[in-house]
Subunit: 277 residues, 2 copies
């Protein structure tokens, strides 16, 4: 039986394997400077940090270590959001069967130190992020470790940071709301009977069709994100050819990365609940 | 910087990713019951045992544990030979830079207990093996743990077992001869400038063209193994289309598994020597 950290690593690997996954790297589609092999190395490197989460390390510290390991490849940011999503789930899974209540409790228990670890993680890899609203109480994540004093002054825990970011970022919203889309994605994957990688691709398209991808929205705006959602829905209904959509999104530089991260989280929960590979 | 066990796991992942790799599973080709995802789970599962090898566990014990982990997926035997090849190399790499002399010393130091561990590993997964010659002093590997008494009676170390098997099995020959093809493959991979997965596929074809694959020979006989070698050489020269060869080998049930294992070993050595992913 695989450990929680092994299942988390396998979830990252299965996520990038599923194809077609319009707009993202998968085993059949690569970008010129971000290739499938970078995601393999990213997953391998993330595991040591995820193992510390399973052993009870604080979420922020485990996350930072996992991101440091993930970044030890030349492709740049491969799985920052996916690692952010699975870290508290691994911690929850190590204690008992992974449940929304257990995951919610892990988030509720986070501290200012966890927030500092989260900010530090941005120093290991160049993460594409949008600008904060002017009224946000949060320091800019691009400040990395330099944000520590501001976080301590304002007594911001990781849960606070995620709650403040929930409107702009799909992974933060999962933290804030008890991981509803992650568990829904896990159920969808568990219900299937196809090879697991094919179920991952199907779950990606379903999630992309259900809500605008927040990474696409941050980079291309509301209208493009909604168009992407609508066309993913059309692909599910069969009125748009999914392979053609994949080609087009890559050509337009549209990478629905947050949706891929949700699928990685869903795969992890499904593996913990007995998904057989 | 990745640990030796991380590099070994990554080597298994990169090996199966390289495509086209005529006759074997890769990221673009699957058999109906042995899929790419099984190799992902196999690599993830092998790492815990490989970690014990890096920490100094005896080769036989570490190998058995790695195979037990590798087998925790439903595809069957994914990387038995590759794990057998990398286990002593991981042990050697943990002590110092991995060299033929270091790897040879690890093999020379193996004991009867290591041979017992090797035989036990066959209990975790169904490995396709040929019949032993009638005059062989070795117990049949299919006896698994039941071979222990015979191994102890005859005082057979793992090095002895490999030396006796060298004529029939390409991985055993690597043990017996100081891993010459593994290090040659590593040099070839390090010399390239393409994406690493493409170099792995190229190294596979080069190795297949240079010597008959012993797994193909055990299953299909000398003539087929030599034909496969010849046609791989023709593919390298461009007189046979490599994608067509890939389709044909799969259709004929020809899987040059030992050559794939050699590439995994070569990738490991290359990663230890600074191959950047």
């Amino acid at each position: 039986m695989r450990t929680a950290a092994e299942n988390a690593e396998l979830a990252l690997l299965l996520e990038v394997t599923g194809t077609p996954k319009p707009g993202n790297v998968d085993r059949r589609r690569e970008l010129s400077d971000l290739r499938f092999e970078h995601f393999l190395a990213g997953a391998v490197g993330a595991r040591a940090g995820l193992t510390t989460a399973a052993e009870g390390a604080p979420v922020g510290e485990a996350f930072e270590r996992a991101v440091a390991g993930m970044s030890d490849q030349s492709g740049g940011n491969t799985q920052f959001g996916a690692v952010l999503l699975v870290t508290p789930l691994v911690r929850a899974a190590a204690a008992e069967e992974v449940t929304p209540a257990g995951a919610r409790a892990v988030v509720a228990d986070t501290t200012v130190d966890d927030a500092v670890g989260f900010y530090r993680a941005f120093e290991h890899v160049d993460v594409s992020v949008g600008d904060l609203p002017a009224e946000s109480p949060l320091p800019d994540v691009r400040r990395g470790a330099d944000a520590e004093a501001a976080l301590r002054d304002r007594e911001l825990t990781l849960a606070d940071v995620m709650a403040e970011s929930a409107a702009n970022d799909g992974i933060a919203r999962e933290y804030a709301e008890g991981f509803p889309r992650t568990f829904r994605t896990a159920d969808r994957i568990l219900d299937g009977s196809e090879p697991v990688a094919d179920r991952a691709a199907d779950a990606f398209l379903a999630a992309l069709a259900s809500e605008p991808d927040t990474f696409v929205r941050a980079r291309h705006g509301h209208e493009v994100a909604e168009e992407v959602r609508r066309r993913a829905a059309a692909a599910r209904e069969g009125t748009v050819e999914v392979e053609a959509l994949a080609e087009e999104f890559v050509a337009r530089g549209i990478n629905p990365g947050t949706t891929a991260d949700l699928v990685a989280g869903g795969l992890f929960v499904a593996l913990e609940r007995g998904l057989e590979v």
